[in-house]
Each structure stands twice: as structure tokens, then as C-alpha cells.
């Protein structure tokens, strides 16, 4: 498996783990905990690397793909963890994790779309 694919799958996995943990916190009526915050930082590092790798690979690509959409999703991934964290950090209730549920379901979807754009099924 290429490194870029492995990175994508890792990002999806981490995102889904955080989403599931957020569901657990919400179900338990708890607020955001350190696991979510640290996990968000980890995820952010992954998607920043993904953005850099994606741009470099796109620059060297010899076939044409939906570049604008591709870059849009790369940027979208980078924006989501900080935006979700800032938006939910001051919410002490279970709706802090609720925001994270939404964010960390959307994020893996974006990464899947990135993979689809990169490897279009002809």
C-alpha cells in the first residue's frame, strides 16, 4: 500500500475512534475530556501532513484529477479539528462531544472522498 493511502486510512481510523469516543461521552452525559483533546491534536497533525503530501503529489501528477475539489477537501480536513475544538471547548455539557461527533464523522468522509478523487474508478 502506498504511504499516502496508509496515511489516509490512519486518518480515517483516528477520526472514527474519536467519533465513537464522542458518542460514548455524549451517551454518558459527559463533557469533552483529555482523550478527545489530545486525539484532536493527533488528528490535526495527520491531516496537516496529508495536506502537504497531497499538494506535493498533486504538483507532480501526470494525469488530471478534480484538483480544485481535491485541494478543497485537503484544506477542509485541516480546518475541522481546530474549528470543532474551538467551537466545543467552552461547552461543558454533553453537547461539546456532540459537536465532535459531527466533526469526526464528516472528516473521514472527506478523506474517503480524497481517496476516491485520487483513485477514480474508470
Amino acid at each position: 500500500m502506498r504511504v499516502i493511502d496508509a496515511l489516509a486510512y490512519l486518518t480515517i481510523a483516528v477520526g472514527l475512534v474519536l467519533a465513537v469516543w464522542s458518542i460514548v461521552l455524549f451517551a454518558r452525559n459527559q463533557g469533552i475530556d483529555d482523550f478527545l483533546l489530545i486525539g484532536s491534536v493527533v488528528l490535526e497533525v495527520l491531516v496537516v501532513v496529508q495536506l502537504i503530501a497531497g499538494v506535493i503529489l498533486l504538483a507532480g501528477l501526470d494525469r488530471s484529477i478534480e484538483s480544485a475539489t481535491f485541494i478543497g477537501y485537503l484544506i477542509g480536513c485541516v480546518v475541522i479539528p481546530p474549528a470543532a475544538t474551538i467551537w466545543s471547548l467552552t461547552e461543558r455539557s454533553r453537547y461539546g462531544p456532540a459537536v465532535m461527533i459531527a466533526a469526526y464523522i464528516v472528516m473521514p468522509v472527506l478523506v474517503v472522498r480524497l481517496l476516491q478523487i485520487w483513485n477514480p474508478v474508470v
Binding site: 474549528a83 466545543s88 455539557s93 461539546g96 456532540a98 459531527a102
Partner: protein, 133 residues
């Protein structure tokens, strides 16, 4: 009152609206920029939906008495929009390719486009200022 709108479930509501606002706007821009003539009606409505989502998000975040009123109108327009376009896309599918946010009642987005304005309107009603007795 602004804080009541923005706290608790309101935070999730606003987050989902923001996601839809960004998604719908990007989608509309790409559709109109690259293939407008394929389905001008559908993609124009896509742009309209994007505007409604952005407006709703902004008004919910600000949550002043005025923006709450605007948000209420926006959400009603949004609900009418998704129900109308959902119905039309079923009856006249040729004019509505799958990929617009309100096509087929937003089935491509897990029907969230239908549920969202309903929950939003309920939330606005719930966080309305209590009338003085």
C-alpha cells in the same frame, strides 16, 4: 438570549449548519463554475440553498433578537425548499442530477437537510425569550 441559543444543543445545531453552509457553498461554486449548462436550474437552486445555509448559520451564531427572526424565516424557507425540490426531483428527475443538496429530500446527505430545519425551528422556539406575564 444569545447565549441560550448558542449553548447546549444549539452548539450542535450551529455546528451542523456550519458544515452544511461550507459544503453547500463549495459544491455550488464547483457546479456552477464547471458544469452550469448541464443543469442550470438545479445548480442555481444549489446556490440558493448555500446562501440560505450561510445566512442561517450566521444568524444562529449571532443570536440577537433580529438575527433569530431572520434565522426563523431562513429555516422556514429552507424547509419549504428541501420539500419542494425533493418533490420536484422525484417527479422531474431529468432536471435534478443527484448531486444537489436538496435533491431527493437530501437523501445524499442522510436526509439531514429535511431534519435540520425542523430541529432548528424547534430550538429557536425553545430558546425564545419568555413572555412577561
Amino acid at each position: 438570549m444569545a447565549e441560550r441559543t448558542r449553548r447546549g444543543p444549539g452548539r450542535l445545531l450551529i455546528a451542523v449548519y456550519a458544515i452544511f453552509a461550507i459544503g453547500a457553498t463549495s459544491r455550488a461554486i464547483v457546479q456552477i463554475a464547471t458544469k452550469f449548462d448541464e443543469a442550470p436550474l438545479a445548480y442555481s437552486l444549489s446556490a440558493f440553498a448555500a446562501i440560505v445555509y450561510c445566512l442561517a448559520t450566521y444568524c444562529l451564531v449571532r443570536a440577537t433578537p433580529l438575527t433569530r427572526k431572520i434565522a426563523t424565516v431562513s429555516l422556514i424557507v429552507e424547509l419549504i425548499g428541501v420539500l419542494t425540490i425533493g418533490t420536484l426531483s422525484v417527479l422531474v428527475p431529468g432536471d435534478f442530477p443527484q448531486s444537489t443538496v436538496w435533491s431527493y429530500f437530501g437523501v445524499g446527505y442522510l436526509l439531514i437537510p429535511v431534519v435540520l430545519p425542523i430541529l432548528g425551528l424547534r430550538w429557536l422556539r425553545k430558546t425564545a425569550p419568555q413572555q412577561a406575564v
